[in-house]
Symmetry: D2
């Protein structure tokens, strides 16, 4: 494979973002840092704060958590004015470049990180090379630091190149909680878009491989179920308690036991649970932060219906109440063949690309599907592109990392597609 | 019932302690406040810090938690010198009064609070009268604020009265985590004690009732079980995960299902549980803070043996490892008849006491049993006394409260017993 | 201990009954065999069939099962006329002896066996001595064969002795399913009884020990819960099934997890469960034959209320329906002190008795309590007597057996009590 | 659709078989009835009994069950000589027709029924038309009665037609327990086969539709897990029990909770479970008859590995032993394109066929795959053909039925394929 190197400026940016992982809706520092980059460039419009979000943002952390991350961002150097404008977690930023007549092309990259403690062994490159997460317990374990960097790289190509039309670069927050995509979509930011692109690095595709159009996103619904019972002294009056932890445990056991479906893949996860206060008190409260998925929205709804019954029955068993709150949702979506063909064509001429796969299923979920649907419903086209990279650990694990050379491949590829889209139009 | 009133000074102290609930090993403010009271009195010895603790303190919170509570105490006015001497959670204080020839009598009162959010309705007296907990999430929900106040009241009577002998007043920390009693016992503080008294207010006995000797303490063992599996992306690679939350839930379900025992009462509680990090990640870690109890140590050990098997089997089921750490323990103990008879005699002449019960089972656990055993093994006598009070909510619930007049009854009763013990000896 | 031997006639009878264990309501052979014995004696009345039962017999096996056991009895030699009169499981028999003026004294012994496969090792006496159960899967594992024999022995003493009054000997069926006691009680058979006696052999008391009055019977309720879901092909259409076995398993897990109660002992058992038809079919049906108990009726009702919720919630979880049928019930009861004193007095002069315990708790349940209550409510007295025996295996286990010499002790003891009751009256 | 009718002789046979459903290895009557039919035809060889089976038959019912079904067959008219030759469940029969030079073509049809109680409503055709199952609790709920009839119909065409070569008709037992296919394969019966055909009716394909080659059989493994604990009196000594039903229930809960797999579909079912003997005895034994499946053998092995851990951990939890016995197994297999093309060609000219699907996945399992593999490994070809029918209820449900006209379609189709295979060869 011909040597492909990432320019220092992009490498430094990626590593700085990697050092500052921020979870969904708390990307204060990341947003400020990207705004700083964008302000150094000839961007025509720079939008952020409430104006790029819809009315119904979901899954917002509580005020104390937002404040904590905002303070952390402030201490790390984010300007007060920017933080004030972001306000109560209206993170993310959209840059618009107007270059006369031509199509409106949008690129969406996501910017949030995960509540995972990063590996610190010498065989984990970010640790060995000194850019491991500085916030214990949080980590860019899904490559969004690379995505944001690719976004900026593509913008630079658009600014430096022959592009004719309008280019919108969307740095989207809160992908991991499948909340940001819908919020951005509802703001109308992509309503005039002709061609929409989103991308993901890795996904078990090796360095040198490109997936021209990813499909079969798992539809997903995230929820929080809160069980409320009655506390009691566990030694003196156990019979007075209605044990919320017993209800929660029964629910966990049976959520995973929802029948498989012959119509296609399904998923369920009780990803974060908790309950109770001390070993000698019958627990009064417990919760499950969970999700269900399906290869189609129908399959996801099948899982949801069964999950609701399990949660409700588990509460009944232990005389508890359960409150089920739906948090994020993402539908299925598909990549348009016309766009996929263009990505395929460009990929075959891009340095560092050795194989092109036309089609792959994600096997996961993505709230870019909200934006794809929004564009497609208004007559535009959409494609979701995969950029391979040799990642040592799996996505969402402590040893995840990307080969930085593949960030350069991603920039070349997407910039090429954007250029071709404008050129095709002008023919 | 003849009117019994609590002197303002004791009422104020009780309410101030109620306002400042501190959990086990974090009683920095409480200890400092009591030291301040003791320093205003003619006490011969005042011991606190590491010297009143054994080597093997258990169930100590982590350094960050200790620091947080120490800072809170400092802000509330606790002197730096005292806090420094308390150090890493060596809370509690022992006061000694020497009054010539006579028996050595010890009184133990406990001082820690619970992780419970106090009720704030108008029908909850501490809220209505303005002395509700100022630390959200923590509460004196077991009457230890009253116990500490009774302790100081008895000390005052000893100082003012005819007492001949040695009186030791022990303010013990960390009763709720059954850790403080053993620690104090192992320091040797009670090794020379002839008569040992401990007390509890409430326990479902109404105002005006005294239990001369409580027995049948449930033996207890607290533990923390930590499950470790393997994380994975819940959508893309669920099969790569070894789900620690599934293991934990299976354990909870089956811990509560340990067979009842015909030889006597048993208990089990998974009082605090948690696991996982986010809804889209297969949980890698989970934990149970739990406890088992039995009417005898043998019954507790029966529960423990079964619990270990459940925890181990649950881990196996989901390819996880489980680490089981024993935290606090307390044995059974009994009240000596000779002492119980004296308490009974004194109670019958104490104003405000309308009925005397010779004997009752606790139905809970108490680490005073460590101190009782220590004294009894060295030839001394011990009794655990109950002072009734009309408490609106149960112990360990958000609406627990005591009738303050019963604090006065407690002082009169115990002071009377201490006086009689000295007088009996001199006859 | 002075040698006590059991007369050959009684030993032979006991062993014959042991060879022919019959479960509740199916005691066709046993009843016929006892009637044969009674007909050889000068009994004034001999009642059996529907007339000794109330209207609301519960827990009756289905017709096919009844027929099977009736046929088995016929093949073993039971006369057709007797079997016809017993009809649809109206098993058991009452013998009445009128001996002029005097009190009415009743003795109740139970006659049913259990669905347990008897041990066949050489160390199991019935196997070694050739009187092991001839019906595989069933066994006299609770000593009712000895009880019936004692009953006949006492009758012989009454017939041979000075007894003045009326003696009623009740051979009660269906004790193990706590159904026979209520049925006999409701027939009115004991409504004129002045002194009522029931007895049990063993109960962990050794040979030579007598318990003059057993108390603290656990109140009990037996139930059958039937779950109904929807079947489906487990490979091709798992999603179409509503899995009754999953519902049942969730119920089992959580029934055993009903909180312990500080007010006293409780029990729960899912003693027989089943469901489904083949490994490749999602199970449409499942059932639990279970029971709850409590040291008081109140505690049993606490368990019942919780159990109903668990069963209902478990069904909801898996979209099944559950039908909960209450089968047998037995209340608590107590032995009257006056009767207990007489038993105590007689026991102390009975050969083979070395120690007399006035009082013991059963720790199990017994539907003799229905008869005891019936007598006590009408002004009579009742006592439940324990006759110790060294039994190798526990009650309800495959190696249970009795020392036959203790059957002789039981006859002497109870016959003595009956004699004294009549004698006391005539004084 | 042009009217297609089933000749009376075939309809009568199908209905008679439907009236006499027999489970795996118990097809005594069915085998005898088919032998009777075959003996009326000019068949060159007729083989049955041990000679058509391998050494390692699995999943054989116990002797009592075999005897019971053999007796039932005898009462229904099966000749003693035939029953004697079938012996201990060596059911099934193979007919061979030699017609000179030409290929060896085999057709396999299965003949066993299921333990399902057939619907008896008027809307269930077999009930309304008087050929409902005469053996309560058993039913031809998967169409094997139609398969056997199609087999005989094809034989008649071969006998009546121009066929040149060798035709083997295999009536295979024990498909539902995935045991018969392997046994027949190991006898060597298909070792000389050039073209192998198997068929299934229904499978959610409507009347008029043919699937030329079914693929993606789920690999499957059936097992029986037996838990053994310790019994005890549930009231008097619950602590002495090691509860096998609790272990079984924990296993069921967690078997269904084995993680889904992103590599493809998986299945798990605890299809038949049971345990315990009576409500007042702590259950000593319990069992699960279950199965795991996967779209590939690798996925099935993934499920198996996890299932073993769950079963083992569940036993540990409740101090029980578990014995896991592997019963039937079936691998994946594929239909050969050459054969599929021929089926497709013939189907398009067959009356009553309106649409032909080249390929479909089964979504279930089939032990015909053993025979397919055996033929393919020796150089032969194999195809598994689907014949649509409008079936009111799903496979393995009480209302399953077939449209009898589709039996005629099946005969025409398969007979046509057999004819073409011989004709092609001779070209």
């Amino acid at each position: 494979m011909p040597e492909t190197n990432l320019a220092d400026t992009y490498r430094d940016l990626r590593r700085e973002l990697h050092r500052h992982p921020e979870p969904a809706w708390c990307e204060f520092y990341t947003t400020a840092r990207l705004i700083d980059e964008l302000e150094q460039r000839e961007v025509d419009e720079l939008r952020y704060g409430p104006e790029i979000h819809g009315d119904a943002r979901r899954n917002i952390p509580d005020t104390a958590t937002l404040s904590e991350w905002r303070e952390r961002a402030r201490e790390a150097g984010a300007p007060d004015a920017v933080l004030d404008h972001i306000g109560e977690g209206y993170t993310g930023v959209v840059a618009v470049v107007n270059r006369g007549e031509g199509p409106t092309v949008a690129l969406r990259v996501d910017i949030d990180a995960l509540p995972i403690t990063e590996a610190d062994g010498d065989d984990h490159h970010p640790a060995a090379a000194g850019f491991r997460s500085t916030t214990e317990g949080y980590m860019h374990a899904c490559g969004h630091d690379a995505h944001a960097t690719i976004g900026l790289g593509v913008l630079d190509r658009v600014l430096d190149g022959e592009f004719a039309g309008t280019f919108k670069l969307i740095f989207q927050p809160a992908e991991e909680t499948i909340a940001g995509g819908q919020s951005i979509a509802e703001s109308g930011v992509v309503d005039d878009v002709d061609s929409f692109l989103a991308l993901h690095i890795g996904l078990d595709h090796p360095s040198g491989e490109v997936v021209a159009g990813i499909d079969e996103f798992l539809a997903v619904r995230q929820f929080e179920a809160t069980f409320e019972g009655e506390s009691a002294h566990a030694g003196a009056r156990p019979e007075d308690g209605d044990n919320a932890v017993q209800a929660m445990a029964a629910a966990v056991q049976n959520l995973y036991g929802i029948p498989r479906n012959s119509a296609g893949g399904t998923r369920v996860n009780a990803g974060r649970v908790g309950g109770g206060t001390a070993s000698n008190i019958v627990p009064e409260e417990a919760f499950i932060d969970g999700e269900v998925r399906g290869e189609t929205t129908h399959l996801m709804e099948y899982m949801w219906k069964r999950a609701e019954r399990v949660l409700s029955g588990a509460a009944t068993m232990h005389s508890c109440e359960v409150d089920i709150e739906r948090l994020g949702d993402a539908p299925s979506a598909h990549s348009d063949a016309v766009l996929v063909d263009i990505v395929d064509r460009v990929a075959r001429r891009t340095a560092g690309v050795e194989s092109v796969v036309d089609h792959d299923s994600l096997g996961g979920s993505e709230d870019a599907t909200y934006l794809m649907q929004r564009v497609q419903q208004r007559g535009g086209l959409a494609a979701y592109v995969g950029v391979g990279t040799n990642h040592p650990g799996g996505h969402h694990t402590p040893t995840f990392d990307v080969d930085e050379r593949d960030i350069a491949v991603g920039i070349d590829l997407i910039a090429g597609v954007v250029a071709d889209l404008a050129a095709d139009e002008s023919e």
